[in-house]
Each structure stands twice: as C-alpha cells, then as structure tokens.
C-alpha cells in the first residue's frame, strides 16, 4: 500500500473506476427460460422470489463459470426466442454470452450461431396415464381408421414437436409454450399423451403417480450451448470445461443429483477424443430444416390462416349480439340488471384476453370438469366474450346518440317500447356504429393470435414455428404472413365503406 494519502486515494480511485470493467469481464451471462421447469431451471415449490433457481443447468452454468474464472449470471427469456438474444448486444439487462437451456443441436441454428460440444445426450420420452391400458408403445397413438387421432401435447417448436408430427401427423399434435400445463392436461385425462425430453419426463413421472413413461426413449439428440460465432475463444474454453467435467465426474455428480445420468451420458463421456458422430436421425432432420423454398411453406400458412378466419368470423357475430343486448339493457333496462352488466363490461374490458382464455381453457375445467372444452370452442367463446364488452360500449354510444324525440315519437304513435327499439332506435344506432364496429372486427383478426396459448395453431403461431426451422427465409415469411393478415382485413374495410355509403344515401345524404 503506498504511503502518502494522495497516492492511496489515487489507487482507490483507480480500483473504483476499473471495478465495473473488472466486474463485467468476470460475468458469464447465460440466457435461459425458467418457465421451462424442472429439472432444467426451476424453483422448488414454496420458494419465494428471493430464493435462487435450482436445476441441473443452473449447477452446470455455475460450474462452467467457475472453470472460466467468471461469475454465473442468469438472464431469463422466452425459450423459443433465446437464440435471438445472441443477435443483440451482450451489454444491458438482457445481454447474454451463451444460450443454455436444453437446446438441441440443430442445423438451422448452427448456420447463424456457434455451438459447443454436447453437454448432455437426451432422448424423447412418451408419457401417458398409468390407467391407460390402450397405450403401451409409441405406435398405439397412431390414428386408427374410423377413429379420431388421440392428441399428443408437446413444447412448441421443439424436436419433440417435430418428431411427434412426423409420427402422428400435424392434426394430432398440440403445441404449447407451457410444459407444466400440457403435462397437467395428460394427468387430468384431457390429452392422451405428451412427448418430452427425458429429463423433463423423469421429473414429471416422479411428481405425478398417475403418469408413466411408455415404450423406450427415441431420437437421441444433443443439448449444446449456443454462442456468437465470433466468440471462438469462449467456445474453446467451454468445450474444454465440458470435457474436463465429463472426465473428472463433476457432470456425473450433478446429473445424478437430478436423476438424469444414464448410459447415454457414459457414452458421451467416452467419446471425447475427436469429432463426435452425429446420432441416428439428425441427418434426416438436417435435410428438412433450412435451405427450403418459401413455396413449400405457403400451404401451411394458408391452412393456419383458415383457422384465423374461422375464429374471427364465428366469434365476432356472437360478440355483436351479446354486446347489443348488454347495451340495450344498460340504456333502456331496469337498474338492477344494468348495474351488474356495467360491472361485466368493466371487468372484461379491463383484463387481458390472454388471461381470459387461460381461465376458460385451463382453470374452469379444474373447478367444473364438465366444462372442459376443445381448444377451438374455447377460443371462439373467449374471443366472443372479450369483444362483447367492447361492442357493448360501441352500441351504448350509438343508442345514446339517437335523439330522445325518436323514442317519444314512436311511443306517441302507440308502439310498445320493445317495438320502438326494434323498428326505430336500433336500426338507426346500427348505422352510427358501423365505423367503430368494423374497426373492432379488423382488430379481432389480429387478436386471434392470442389463441395460440390454448394450443390452437393459427397464423401467427404457424409463422413462429416455420420461422424457427427456416431462419434463412425470415424476410419472405414475414412479408407473406403480414400479407395474409392484410388480405383478411382489407375486405372488411371495403365492406364497412360499402355499408356506410349504402346507409348514407339511404338516409338521404345526411
């Protein structure tokens, strides 16, 4: 320590200034999705916000950081968009150095990002209910002639999703971002089975005695860490750290703690003398992913757009009818009816559509099993209820815009209130509300994308899915998807204009 106070102060200042730089250089920021759950990255039940995450990937990240002389910093994001974080700067709150979250070794991703050697060999496991006697092997889920396919839930856009679709067909596979929910549905008997990576499978089978694994693991694949292509040195360091961990038993210890060490990992440990062989089916997957042409994707987009149209054109008329009834009661009806309806409007308008769909599809059946709905019906009802609140306000404004004298003139002729509403008031109000109502209809087309959380494959979800496996076609896909939405909405705008013109001239140019 320098003697003079001045020199000591200077040294302290230098350390203070350098500290942030030193601290930054010492972080290993790893992007992961904690909602993916056990045993990857999770919190044990009863944990609070302050408690740290646990999981074999948390411990792996800690080990790797320590080996590299850094501190491990967890950055959370959405699983399917984690690689995109590598395209962003590494500074800032969501800046990351690596992606570490059960990401498979994928040709499409390796074109854009660098990958380490595998740190785990996984297999796809099929999970079904213990009491499902008809389910004894993978083939038992194949659609039998004359019977509807049994449904299989998977994590959206994962290798499990791809394999399940190949095996069972697109229609039998329901994708979700929420593994816990999907497994819950199998446990409750609402879905036949789910295909999960074996770490997750092991955890859930242990957690729910109603569930068991069916058949043997398939499609062995690798979990790798993704990082930026220019981080050559980091990749080399990580590769070495993984090799060391496999050799000295650290990884074995971690994996055994979470009950996921098996013969596949022993094979992995012995394989580190050179380049690793590609596991069996990866070549097929590689041939399918990437390098495709946009034309092959168009039919899939169109089919998904069809679902979008179906959702919109069935739910909106329901919303209009319900909204009109609510508005009529609020403007003309009895107080004891009008007040609860006012509450209904505020609650529905004031809460997100996403939450409402969750309640209808996931939570209501838990309380009332008889109310378990198919995803499409739940989506239509959810959209209808949500939009009915907005339409109710549109119509209420329209009804109030009709001068009082209209009702008085009708009543003076001897009409009943109901007849006056039906013949005189509502037809006029209808014309007034055409602009805001068509506005909402056009918005509804976009809001159908929220239905993807209840396992419906509509256009936006299909775009996400195709984008994930065809990252070289990102511009074409985006333009095509946006174009499809436009094609669906623009006729509505034209219809609105036609309606307005027709009623405009009908009422004499006023």
């Amino acid at each position: 320590m320098p003697r003079s106070p001045r020199a000591r102060a200077a040294a302290a200042l230098a350390v203070l200034l350098l500290f942030p730089a030193l601290a930054a250089a010492q972080e290993l920021r790893w992007g992961t999705d904690p909602t993916g759950g056990a045993p990857f990255v999770y919190k044990p039940p009863g944990a609070t916000d302050a408690d740290p995450y646990i999981g074999f990937e948390v411990e792996l990240a800690d080990y790797l950081a320590k080996k590299l002389g850094r501190t491990s910093v967890l950055v959370d994001g959405l699983w399917k968009s984690l690689p995109e974080l590598l395209d962003k700067p590494r500074t800032g709150e969501k800046g990351i150095d690596i992606v570490l979250n059960g990401y498979e070794d994928r040709e499409g991703l390796k074109e854009k990002y660098a990958a380490t050697i595998p740190y785990y060999v996984y297999r796809l496991a099929l999970i079904g209910r213990d009491d499902d006697a008809a389910l004894n092997d993978w083939g038992d889920l194949r659609a039998k002639p004359g019977q509807p396919p049994r449904e299989v839930g998977v994590l959206g856009e994962s290798a499990a999703a791809k394999y399940s679709k190949r095996l069972y067909g697109e229609d039998a596979v329901l994708e979700s971002d929420d593994v816990e929910n999907v497994v819950g549905m199998v446990k409750d008997g609402r879905m036949a089975a789910t295909v999960q990576d074996n770490p997750a499978a092991a955890h859930f089978v242990k957690k729910y005695p109603e569930l068991r694994t069916v058949g043997t693991g398939r499609q062995p694949g690798y979990y790798v860490i993704y990082l930026r292509k220019e981080d050559d040195q980091l990749r080399a360091q990580l590769d070495q750290a993984i090799k060391d961990g496999l050799a000295d038993g650290t990884l074995q210890r971690i994996y055994r703690k979470y009950s996921i060490w098996n013969e596949d990992q022993e094979w992995l440990a012995h394989r580190y003398t050179g380049a690793w062989p590609t596991p069996v089916d990866q070549e097929e997957l590689a041939a399918e992913a990437g390098g495709g042409s946009i034309w092959k994707l168009i039919p899939q987009l169109l089919k998904a757009a069809g679902m979008t149209v179906l959702l919109a054109v069935t739910s909106f008329p329901l919303a209009m009818i319900a909204g009109m009834l609510v508005a009529l009661v609020r403007v003309y009806g009895l107080r004891w009816l009008a007040v609860p309806l006012g509450v209904y409007v505020e609650v529905i308008r004031g809460t997100p559509l996403l939450l409402q769909l969750y309640v209808i599809f996931y939570m209501l059946p838990k309380a009332f099993p008889a109310l378990a709905l198919d995803p499409v019906y739940a989506g239509i009802i959810g959209l209808a209820i949500n939009y009915s609140a907005y339409e109710a306000e549109n119509y209420r404004a329209g009804l109030r815009a009709i001068p009082r004298g209209q009702m008085e003139a009708a009543l003076s002729l001897g009409m009943t209130r109901l007849t006056a509403l039906r013949r005189i008031i509502v037809p006029q109000a209808f014309r007034i509300v055409i602009p805001p109502v068509t506005n909402d209809f056009i918005a509804l087309f976009k809001d159908t994308s929220v239905c993807s959380v209840i396992l419906i494959t509509e256009l936006t979800r299909k775009y996400n899915e195709l984008y994930n496996f065809n990252r070289d076609l990102v511009v074409e896909l985006a333009v095509l998807t946006a174009g499809l939405y436009l094609v669906m909405s623009y006729p509505l705008a034209l219809l609105a204009g036609w309606l307005e013109r027709r009623t405009h001239t009908a009422s004499g140019g006023r």
Binding site: A409, S412, L413, M415, S507, G508
Partner: protein
C-alpha cells in the same frame, strides 16, 4: 272527451303545473297560448303520458291516468292510440321514406299488414299535399314538408284527438303557412285538436283558447275574449 282535473306537477319546489283543469269536447279545437315556460308543452306531454305528474287525473274516454304513481303500460298504450302527437322538431324517422313513416303507426302499433295499410297512408300523404313525395327521405324534405308528413303519420292511426306541440315554431313564415293550412283543413273536418302555439292567426280561429302563465290557466274562453 279529454278531461284534465287538478293537474299538478312539481320539480322540487318549483311548480311547473299548478292545479290545471280543462275539458275538450269532441270536434273542438283548443289553443293553448301564453309566454314561454308557462307549462303549455308540459301539460300536453302529461296528457299523453310522456311526462308524469304528482296530483290530478287525465281522462280520455274511458282511460284515465292518475297522478302520483307510474302509469300502467296497458293504459298508456290505449291512450296513445286515441291521442296522437305532432312535435315542434317533427321527429320523423330518418331511416324511412315519407310513406314508411306514415305506415309506421299502422304497421308497428296497430299490427296491420302493409297491403292493408298502404292505400290509406298514400291517401293521407296526398291530403297533406305530398302525394309526389312518397319515397322521399326526411333529409330531402323541407321543414314544412316534414311537418306535414308528421301530421299524416299521426293521422294514420286514426286518433280521436291530436296534440300539437308548437308545430310551426321551427318553421319560417312561408312553411308555417303551409302547415297551418293543413291544420285548418283538419279542424274543418271536425278533428279534435289541442294546439300549443305562438301563431296567433291560428289561435284566433280556434273554438276555445286558454291562456297559461306560470303553470296556471289564467283565462279561458272564445278567442275574441282571451286574445287582445
């Protein structure tokens, strides 16, 4: 055939109508005159139940409305088919043609068929001088024409009496003249009418005139006596 007895309507402490009584016989044309705010329009609207009142009674033939409690819907319907109303602002239905406006009473209040009601409706429009405007929309009609359609519309349900609430106040003198001519025509044919008006030339030709000030009938009698 219309009898108003001791009608009182208050709004808070303000007496809008103060113990008003009058009688209108069949075929009689009655004019209500007086300064604005005197309660004339309110009296008319109490008679056909568009407004309620605290004390008193309105009797039209065998239907009566009693003050102080809500009027039964059935009574209101019966009364309004006997007593029609023509408004200062016309209140034609803008999404219908002139003919459809006139048909609205017979079709939607009386439940008649269009085939049955149409000839009479057309005849009424011709009677008010608008036989060439069956398909015109109210927005394409002048104020005087609109009010004449409104009169035809009120006539279409065959009321025993018609209430006119300042029918020409929103019209310029020429159009007012058209409308007053129609009303004179009706009076000549024996239509029972109560007319709230500032058009003294019409009031002078009524059978009876009541002068209302401050919610009370100040003076009643033949026009020569009441109007200076």
């Amino acid at each position: 055939m219309i009898r108003v007895s001791n009608l009182t309507k208050s709004y808070g402490s303000h007496r809008i109508l103060d113990d008003v009584s009058l009688e209108v016989r069949q075929g009689e044309v009655t004019a209500l005159v007086g300064p604005s705010g005197g309660g004339k329009s309110t009296l008319l609207r109490c008679i056909n139940g568009l407004e309620d009142f605290q004390v008193g009674e309105v009797a039209v033939g065998d239907v009566s409305l009693v003050g102080g409690k809500p009027h039964p819907k059935a009574d209101l319907l019966r009364l309004r088919k006997r007593v029609g109303m023509v408004f200062q602002q016309f209140h034609l239905f803008p999404h219908m043609s002139a003919l459809e406006n006139v048909l609205s009473g017979p079709l939607y209040a009386l439940g008649e068929s269009r085939a049955g009601a149409e000839p009479r409706a057309k005849a009424l429009l011709e009677r008010v001088g608008l036989g060439h405007k069956f398909d015109a929309r109210p927005a394409n009609l002048s104020g005087g024409q609109q009010q004449r359609v409104a009169i035809a519309r009120a006539l279409a349900v065959n009321p025993a009496a018609i209430l006119f609430d300042e029918p020409t106040s929103a019209l310029d003198p020429q159009m007012a003249g058209e409308v007053l001519a129609v009303m004179r025509d009706l009076a000549r044919d024996g239509q029972t009418m109560i007319v709230v008006t500032h058009a003294m030339e019409f009031a002078r030709q009524a059978h009876t005139v009541h002068r209302m000030v401050g919610g009370r009938i100040e003076k009643s009698g033949p026009p020569g006596e009441v109007i200076e």
